[in-house]
Subunit: 439 residues, 2 copies
């Protein structure tokens, strides 16, 4: 009888937890409360031997037994079969994880910043030690995006991934969209409710999404992509007026993490970027609200797949961590290993100038016959093809607003066209230029 | 250097394919066209040694090399490392898969009918032979539902799964909803376009969805659930009038596969059923159109997760099959195994009388003061709590139509209440009773 079928023969695995914050507390609570289920599912009894925290004496949730607490993180990292790293940030997380690998432990983490910065070093260390390294919780909380890209798409070719992977910015944009708030007002609300940090930089400047985007692109395209490869633009400059204009165009503004394969006459490689974009209201990503996350994968055979769920929070993130714990434990019992880093495709990461996207350009023009023809001509001459044009003339005014949505174009062609427009007498002003994603 | 890092050291695995229909053709084409990618991802060269078909001489897609064709299915089943079963149906698929296991092959299939009918026998045979058995393609095509339930939720407790898992009925209902067609007209359209079979029984009577629902429930609740455990209701009786009424209530009618855990004073166990239900228009499942599938999982920690994608078709199903092929191949190279059947929870499968759902009841009543109070009183006396009431009176008429939506109730309580309503003088007729799902 194999071990997983016999209760008495079930081996015990020692589990160490680094960090007892929001996620750590939930992970510990669930491991203790549902220990029989974890035993049945993983084939091993999972025994928490230590929880490393900075301050053992600090008040904390009663789910975490005090006798497990220690401030010796290195001891926890190096004396267990499975180590769950939930302290976040680069150091000491990196050093502790490397020590855990060296001590023969499999590691489960949700540390996107660390993986985006030091992924290859960590993958190599896990492979050298012949242990598992899992990080489902690093991208989009409870949504199994890492699995989907790493394993579900293993028999397919991903062409693009579009994701809403930062709940804080999605919440802020939602507040702006539904209540007409300014960015500062919406940010303040998000901070009051605990959706945004006191220092909101990582979220509102797109860095959190960029780390996740690097991980997504690495997995989707079997290529090493680090944080520095991601072109990032945050949401600080988005105004209430931008949102109103988006609504007038039948769109919502969303911060998207985008990883795209490009293989045409002009470029071959992958484009990896985070920026706000207009998304048509009928597109599934437009209706992802509040702190929810969603990831849309397009692949050659599978077509379009969408995954939606809670992208953050203690319990949803704990769910992702614990699924990895069960997988790593099962490998200890039955053999086998987590998929290793796969970077065989080694595609070039294209610079920001090679990103292809649609644009919405708003112009103030002289309301004379022929103005529209002039504008259209300038786009055509500069290799930018137009998808739609909308003109709003004001009664009695000598001016009109023209809103142009282009077909996908490179930023180079778009910039050249806009420069040329500025030189036209009939074009009085370039009011706004926004990216448009999702069809 | 481990095998997966060295091209020269890469082992070859023999792959046999049973069936070369729509899915089989795509699987073979992709394995041949993208062989380098499959080698890089699985760690092994995957060499197709034979493709078993009924008629070797029949004309077929040129993607399938003629020299691989054979009518000796048993030879293909018993002489390979990996066997991909795509002939469908119970026999000879069952016998061939058992023979493959006995010969030491891992098996990948998309055969939902076979798994729903003989799952436990197949799981046991795979375990006895110490080989893998994968069936991602059996539920919802390219959407990784099997993985999500079996592995992503391994660290969580699923409370319910609601799915649109039959594209044919979803297409028919969509045509009825958007074009006002009758069931027969919509079915004819679906048949013309190849979305429905000449004999549409398996789809329109809910049997295909029931097989998938049994698989979903087994995985979600770690309990053996077979086809016979599923309460099934098809869509033949749905009229254009029903759809109009649904729209008037702000709903769409969808066929749902439902697997729910129930743990209250009245029942403990799982409810597993397929039936049409009103779904509020704002619910994510209401906007799943055409041949698309979607599965909504609710779990204690993760909260609500939704997966959406193409549920059928050659290429999307091939994508799911090939992800399983890569996983099974990687186990041959690196050790390890697919998760085994997990039925430790062994929850009772509740009968249809224990299903808890909301209902919409439409009544024709005497338009007199007090009629509404009478109706409300009858529901209350019979233990059915009312969520909303809508009354449409016709000018000058002595009658009104009352539409009641209840809170979740058992069919027993609902039936008792409706019987009592029929006995009331003021209730002239019970016009319709429909289930309502999704909040």
């Amino acid at each position: 009888m194999s071990p997983q079928n016999s209760v008495t023969a079930r081996p015990a695995l020692k589990v160490g937890v680094l960090g007892a914050g929001t996620v750590g507390t939930q992970v510990i609570r669930l491991l203790l409360e549902q220990s029989e289920e974890f035993t049945a599912r993983s084939g091993a009894r999972l025994a928490i031997t230590g929880v490393a925290v900075r301050n053992v004496a600090a008040p904390r949730d009663e789910s975490v037994p005090r006798e497990l607490l220690t401030d010796d993180a290195t001891a926890v990292a190096t004396s267990n079969d499975l180590v769950i790293e939930l302290i976040g940030g680069i150091e000491p997380a990196r050093t502790l994880i490397l020590a855990a690998f060296k001590a023969g432990a499999s590691v489960i983490t949700g540390n996107k910043a660390l993986i985006a910065a030091h992924g290859p070093e960590l993958y190599a260390a896990a492979a050298a030690a012949d242990v598992d390294f899992y990080y489902e919780a690093a991208v989009a909380g409870a949504i199994p995006v890492v699995y989907a890209l790493r394993e579900s798409m293993a028999g397919d070719r991903v062409t693009s991934v579009l994701g809403i992977v930062n709940g804080t910015t999605n919440y802020i944009l939602d507040e702006m969209s539904t209540k007409g708030l300014s960015f500062d007002e919406a940010l303040a609300t998000a901070q009051e409710l605990g959706y945004a940090e006191a220092d909101p930089t990582a979220d509102v400047d797109g860095l959190d999404a960029a780390a996740k985007c690097a991980i997504i692109a690495s997995l989707a395209f079997h290529t090493r992509v680090g944080l520095d490869d991601v072109t990032v633009e945050g949401i600080r400059s988005i105004t209430a007026e931008d949102i109103r204009e988006a609504h007038a165009s039948g769109c919502e503004i969303k911060v998207l993490a985008i990883a795209q394969r490009r293989e045409d006459d002009h470029a071959r490689g992958i484009s990896v970027r985070v920026h706000p974009a207009l998304v048509p209201a009928h597109h599934p990503l437009a209706s992802v609200h509040g702190a929810f996350n969603a990831v849309l994968i397009e692949a050659e055979s599978a077509g379009r797949l969408m995954f939606y769920g809670q992208g953050a929070g203690g319990a949803p993130t704990a769910s992702a961590v614990l699924s990895d714990v069960v997988a790593a434990a099962a490998h200890r019992v039955n053999g086998g290993q987590a998929p290793r880093e796969s970077s065989y495709a080694d595609l070039p990461v294209l610079g920001p100038e090679s990103a292809i996207t649609r644009y919405q350009v708003q112009l103030r023009v002289d309301d004379q016959p022929g103005s529209l023809a002039t504008v259209a001509g300038v786009f055509a001459e500069n290799g930018v093809s137009i998808d739609s044009v909308r003109q709003s003339a004001y009664v009695g005014a000598a001016e009109a607003t023209v809103t142009i949505v282009t077909h996908p174009a490179s930023v180079f062609h778009l910039d050249t066209a806009v420069d040329a427009l500025r030189g036209e007498d009939r074009v009085l002003d370039v009011l706004s230029i926004q990216k448009v994603e999702g069809e």
